[in-house]
């Protein structure tokens, strides 16, 4: 156990390291400060978990961590709390420690009075960090296939979560997605209260199962049956043999109306009814908003305040951020895995007035810049693009530019779906120009990109926009 003095020295050293990297132009310094400080005081994660007066909340799952954490920060502020939160994507141990370094002043002392700790944590990294952070509330969003070389099989991630919850010697509240069986079944090992969330509106379901959906097996060994599917294996599920089934959610979307830049949702919180405008498009955004509202219940924040906070918040960094560039509206979508990309495709189709399900083909109306990188953070294996149902875009694409390190692979994937790229170009700036040129004035250019590609193109778009994201400046 490091002493308080040791921790102060470690935090100061981390800060110095961060300032040095930034001065040397070696990036934003989200990893190094944590690595340096963590080396000097190995129990900073434990101390971080204790730092915030109102306790810590962890948010994990394959998709939606950053957005849900972003919404929770808005809720916490609405409830009069300050937040202590890690930067988007810095969700491994070193990222958490960097959060502590950033929170501490030059004297290595951090003040957690009035604060709520909000930490998004990588789904595979959570089990060892969980007993060290000892969160008051743990939020579990969903579990989809993602970079398999990094995460291994989905079932083993779920088993790691269950074991970690069973081993807890405190009583964390669990916030669970009722619609995802891999997540909902965690309630069986709960030590504390459980708050579930889910989509009740059956009209939001898909007409048929998606291809990225894995055969999901119950803990009893049987295959789950789905009466409704919202995305992948997420929906209204039950096990035909042991009787396990989707619980009735405590926080539910009883009616969902998907719109261009957001959704109108009737929400039931406990037995109270609320009208919610979700500020970003797509059913997955609705699910993230429900997760945030359910967490508010676990934290004791009143429903009205939570709903108000969610609808006043804008998109999180690079997650449907909207910009105005040269008379065109530009939206930036982060796509990391087949489930996420499927949801984006669905939201794109719905956002142009269609049903999103290709009933009665609408005219080609989408201008797209699609970017695929194959760095470590994107996944070096680009096979996953074949798991996404890009066939749904056929007949709807007015212009397509494929870009990124693996532009040619992406163009081929779309060709297999019957969609021809107008331009295949690896360079981000040239590709962006080509895509803007092919987008009519007053129309929308949608940029769909993997993680590192998103970082690059988002900076470029923001610089071109000058005035900032339009959701910030629009009335």
């Amino acid at each position: 156990m490091a002493s308080a003095l040791q921790r102060r020295v470690a935090l100061i050293a981390g800060r110095v390291a961060g300032e040095a990297t930034r001065r040397l132009g070696r990036g934003g310094g989200t990893a190094l400060p944590g690595l340096v400080a963590g080396r000097l005081a190995p129990d900073l994660v434990e101390a971080l978990g204790r730092l915030a007066e109102h306790g810590a909340v962890t948010v994990t799952g394959t998709n939606g961590k950053t957005t849900t954490t972003h919404l929770l920060a808005a809720i916490a502020r609405e409830a009069g709390m300050e937040t202590l939160t890690n930067r988007s994507g810095s969700n491994l141990e070193r990222g958490l420690v960097t959060t502590y370094v950033d929170a501490a002043g030059r004297d290595g002392v951090a003040d957690g009075r009035g604060h709520l700790g909000l930490f998004e944590v990588d789904e595979a990294a959570l089990p060892p960090l969980f007993p060290r952070l000892r969160p008051r509330v743990a939020v579990f969003l969903n579990l989809f296939r993602d970079q398999l070389d990094r995460y291994g099989e989905i079932d083993s991630v779920a088993e790691g979560w269950a074991a970690m919850i069973a081993a807890a010697d405190w009583a964390p509240a669990l916030v669970l997605n009722a619609d995802d069986p891999s997540v909902a079944l965690l309630a069986e090992g709960a030590r504390g209260p459980v708050v579930t969330f889910g989509i009740d509106d059956e009209a939001a379901a898909l007409p048929e199962a998606e291809h990225a959906s894995d055969a999901r097996f119950c803990v009893c060994g049987s295959r789950f049956q789905h009466a409704r599917v919202f995305m992948g294996h997420v929906g209204h599920w039950r096990c035909p043999d042991c009787g396990r089934r989707r619980p009735r959610p405590d926080v539910a979307a009883t009616r969902v109306l998907l719109g261009v830049d957001g959704s109108e949702v009737d929400v039931r919180i406990g037995e109270g009814a609320h009208a919610l405008t979700v500020p970003t498009a797509g059913l997955y955004s609705v699910s993230n908003a429900l997760a945030a509202l359910a967490t508010a219940v676990a934290l004791g924040v009143p429903g009205d305040a939570a709903v108000r906070a969610v609808q006043q918040s804008g998109p999180a960094f690079g997650r449907q951020e909207r910009f105005q560039v040269g008379g065109r509206r530009v939206r930036v979508w982060l796509a990391k895995n087949p489930a996420g990309l499927n949801e984006i495709v669905r939201a794109l189709l719905a956002s142009r007035g269609g049903s999103g399900e290709g009933e009665g083909r609408e005219a080609p109306d989408l201008s797209l810049l699609a970017m695929l990188n194959d760095g470590i953070q994107d996944g070096q294996d680009v096979s996953w693009i074949y798991d996404a149902d890009l066939e749904r875009l056929e007949g709807r694409v007015a212009s397509l530019v494929c870009a990124g390190d693996r532009a040619e692979d992406l163009a081929l994937r779309l060709a297999v779906a019957g969609i021809e790229a107008d331009v295949v170009e690896r360079g981000t700036e040239v590709a962006l120009d080509a895509a803007l040129e092919r987008t009519k004035a007053g129309e929308v250019l949608d940029i769909v990109a993997t993680y590192t590609a998103m970082l690059e193109v988002r900076d470029l778009v923001a610089a071109r926009a000058g005035q900032g994201a339009y959701w910030e400046v629009a009335p």
Partner: protein, 261 residues
């Protein structure tokens, strides 16, 4: 036969809801598009757990799965072994990828030390990687032993090591990557028109000559001899495939682990 009616190839997609870990669906999509470009119609039949095999097919596809999925299908697949071996002997085209390749061999000893029976299409055996043995993960470039196929590019991610038996022919020689076992320079296996490989990516879309080879074999088995030349085939996917193939080859040469000679 030149009219559309008789130009159907029957494609069997095995356990694709269980064995699809690395987007193996891309191979089925490529077969459908590629067949259409050659004036063929690919009639895809999916057979999964608890379902019977059809009477006759021209092409069999099976993808990858990890140990858990392999355990789920192994006994059933092994029970289909005699039929699959019969088909292979009569020249049915097959593509078995990764975990599917392992289970198309004689047997696979999994991470728990349990021996899973295989369908026995290929004279190969596979053993899960032991403790301290790294997984074989990365870009792969191989030189195929099949005439006219040439370089095949893809991505591998497997813990198991596969060893060729005396009756087995390798599918390819490894240029970059690990291949069957990271030691003997072989990749995959070939028996008549059946191909087993560790390459995904998906492998068929971005290797147009391999796709053509497989479709030609399937068409031959269906009694369709004359196929249009590759040059005459449909433009969109073919052009994109050539380009993606060349780009992926460069990635593998830059990033793949060179084979020690």
């Amino acid at each position: 036969m030149t009219d559309g009616a008789g130009r159907v190839i029957r494609v069997l997609s095995l356990y694709d809801d269980v064995m699809n870990v690395y987007a193996d669906r891309g191979n089925t999509l490529a077969v459908q598009r590629g067949a259409a470009a050659l004036g063929l119609e690919a009639d895809v039949l999916r057979v999964s757990l608890g379902e019977a095999l059809p009477e006759a097919v021209n092409l069999v596809l099976i993808g990858g799965g990890q140990d858990r999925e392999q355990r789920r299908i192994a006994d059933e697949l092994a029970a289909h072994g005699p039929r699959l071996r019969e088909w292979a002997a009569e020249g049915v085209a097959m593509l078995a990828v990764c975990g599917g390749f392992q289970l198309f061999g004689r047997w696979y000893r999994d991470t728990a030390g349990r021996t899973l029976p295989g369908a026995g299409v290929f004279d190969v055996t596979s053993v899960a990687g032991g403790a301290g043995q790294p997984r074989c993960i990365g870009d792969v470039l191989v030189d195929s032993t099949l005439e006219g196929v040439g370089e095949v590019v893809g991505f591998e991610n497997h813990g198991g090591r596969t060893y060729l038996g005396p009756a087995a022919q390798p599918f390819a020689r490894v240029l970059y990557g690990s291949g069957n076992n990271g030691a003997d320079g072989t990749e995959g296996a070939v028996h008549r028109e059946a191909i087993g490989t560790y390459l995904h990516g998906s492998v068929l879309p971005k290797n147009p000559r391999l796709l053509r080879h497989l479709l030609a074999a399937a068409a031959r088995h269906a009694g369709i001899e004359a196929l249009p030349s590759v040059e005459g085939a449909d433009g969109l996917m073919a052009r994109a495939a050539e380009r993606a193939h060349r780009a992926a080859v460069l990635v593998a040469r830059r990033r793949g682990r060179p084979v020690a000679r």
